[in-house]
Symmetry: C2
Subunit: 393 residues, 2 copies
């Protein structure tokens, strides 16, 4: 069994371009932290007073510290850890909005934002979904126009998971601050690569996933809540704090962290974020931008390829959606996997309105998403594969 403990390449030479679904591989430290926590640590943080339980608590606190540093938050206890970004978004949206409120979001947002907002409609929370242009770009003025007297929340993705289009969150943050509306950012596709400073961008609520750009394991997400925003929890239960009380503690982060946390996963997340802090998001971003520039440069030489999203690779996260003629996106993705050992994701990517926005609701797109460990050699191989596929059609 020993060989299972080193990171094998998938198949002989699998090229993994599905980093927008989950980043792979992770830095070695991430794997080791998960393994070490499970094998040598094992206890339940904040539940018992023995050495190992205290150690588990320390691991989780260190994760909060690193994350707080990354997003420029002073108090690590403002960082709640969740199952995933979806949970963080649900808490933010459903915990903050009340009957009679109005929320503004965009047509490029993910189902993890849109579905909670749609559910709230049935509870008397209205919404406006601001239309983005066909490249997925958001005009902040349209956000401002959508604001009503009862608008309590603006919820915007930092970058589309379909086209990579980066949203002007700093401008939207200005509008939100000026109009006194709470500002929620979904940084699932950007955290760890792009600046998600809550100070710079005037973010009040921030949701992130742990297993994409933050390089942590699956089963981890983050919710930041700024001081002064009342957000109800979705779940109550044992928190290891105020055990004598039948009411949920009303302080961060315990309020949002009922039950036993995913300590091994959080230990891994902590190491992922440390890795990023050491490397610097600028250098990670530069690498990914170069990959995207290279990929798009080569794609443009191929007839029959349609590339979605903005042309400027500085304005897109490392996500490139394409189609080949009118071919079914799922079929292309299947061939890339089966014949060329290239992992991509086809279809609607849990973002149906984004596909309506860019005109691909029927066809879907083939999505290539890059990560810190992808290389230019891989891009060359992918381009060669695409050229062969195009020829065969």
């Amino acid at each position: 069994m020993k060989q299972t403990l080193k990171t094998l390449k998938w198949g002989e030479d699998m090229i993994y371009l599905d980093n927008a679904a989950t980043s792979f591989p992770k830095p070695e430290e991430v794997y080791l932290a998960v393994e070490n926590t499970m094998r040598n640590q094992g206890a339940n943080p904040g539940r018992s007073g023995h050495k190992r339980a205290i150690e588990a608590g320390r691991i989780i606190f260190e994760a909060r510290e690193s994350i707080a540093k990354l997003i420029e938050v002073e108090d690590p206890l403002k960082i709640a850890i969740t199952l995933n970004a979806t949970e963080a978004l649900n808490v933010a949206i459903k915990g903050f909005l009340k009957k009679g409120d109005h929320v503004v979001t965009t047509s490029m947002d993910h189902n993890s934002v849109l579905r909670p907002i749609k559910t709230l409609e049935t509870l008397g929370v209205s919404n406006t979904i601001v239309q983005c242009n066909k490249d997925g770009e958001l005009n902040p003025k349209n956000v401002e126009k959508a604001i009503r007297p009862n608008t309590k929340l603006i919820a915007v993705t930092h970058a589309s998971n379909v086209t990579g289009t980066i949203m002007p969150i700093s401008d939207v943050g200005d509008i939100a601050q000026r109009l006194g509306v709470c500002f929620l950012v979904d940084a699932a596709q950007t955290a760890g690569v792009y600046d998600v400073s809550v100070k710079e961008n005037k973010i009040d609520l921030l949701a992130m996933t742990g297993h994409k750009g933050l390089l942590g394991p699956q089963g981890t997400g983050v919710l930041y809540i700024a001081e002064g925003f009342e957000v109800a929890q979705l779940k109550e239960g044992g928190t290891g704090s105020k055990s004598e009380n039948l009411l949920q503690p009303n302080f961060m982060p315990d309020k949002y962290e009922s039950g036993t946390p995913n300590t091994p996963g959080i230990a891994g997340l902590s190491k992922g974020v440390e890795y990023i802090l050491k490397k610097g998001i600028e250098s990670i971003r530069a690498h990914e931008e170069n990959l995207v520039e290279h990929f798009i440069y080569e794609l443009k030489k191929i007839d029959a390829i349609r590339i979605y999203g903005v042309n400027n690779f500085k304005k897109r996260a490392a996500v490139v959606s394409i189609n080949i003629g009118n071919e079914d996106s799922a079929e292309i993705s299947y061939v890339l996997d089966k014949e060329y050992n290239i992992a991509t994701r086809a279809g609607l990517h849990c973002a149906p309105l984004a596909h309506k926005t860019i005109g691909t609701f029927e066809q879907g797109t083939v999505r290539f998403s890059f990560g810190i460990f992808n290389t230019h050699v891989e891009i060359e191989r992918v381009i060669a594969a695409i050229k062969e596929i195009v020829k065969q059609i």
Copy 2:
């Protein structure tokens, strides 16, 4: 770093008796499954069509199959996987009950049941908390007496996490069925060791944790929902299914599994449950009962020790709460850890009413909780330590 990959004993010879908080260690297969999934598999299940994403989906389906087998459920898709038992309980309680409904629970239940029920009070859902006796025993007749015309749910823990007292869930199941009330069991302390067949016990909703008796990693829980029970989800988001629809899918298990799941953790859970199925819960239970019998037999010889819960070790899960005279439980637990390297948990164990029931709300208790890997030699050492502590007081 290689030494971190084998399971070290804590300190030189730490004795881990905090299995009711989280079981430790896990079977080797569990660690390997988590590691292998992270290092070699890595993809996001149900999100993409490539080999590894399909493989991730298969891993999760296998976990559902094993769990379904363990609790005697025919359709594995009735098994939803959650962050922890607390999440499963919150979905069951808050997703099922509506304004005007009434719910019955017990004074031995955990804050993960009591706190959601208390929160629902503010939304017009009333409750009756049936008082258990001073050993933590529940009289099923008292449950029946508490039923009102608007009682929609009976929520009962399978065994107290404070005293180990096993609840007569089969009798309560009969009552629930006869009176047409939905029956929710919290099997956080029993699954993997005691029979939680939903058929035998007429359970409609079952919540379990993955990281205690099921021997999986932290960050995993299970919710079973029987056919015909309408339970709203707490969270909406991407499910990898019906992506074109802005409404949450209304089928199991996707309805309750929004966002990226904890695939490595679930892979580990799957192996934990397989381990149990192979070993047989009867043999695991026999081992734990023997340990408890041994421990209590020796404890009874020591004056000044007060043991809580029922005297019959067949009627208690492998959890033994004690106090030494009027000494602070936290102080005793601290000394056990610091001087003797024995991990226990003191205090209220997130179950304040249970401590009121057994008369230890002020003092708390020192809880020793045993697992499949504890030994009689360890019990001898713990008894020797307790004797020394008693002498010094």
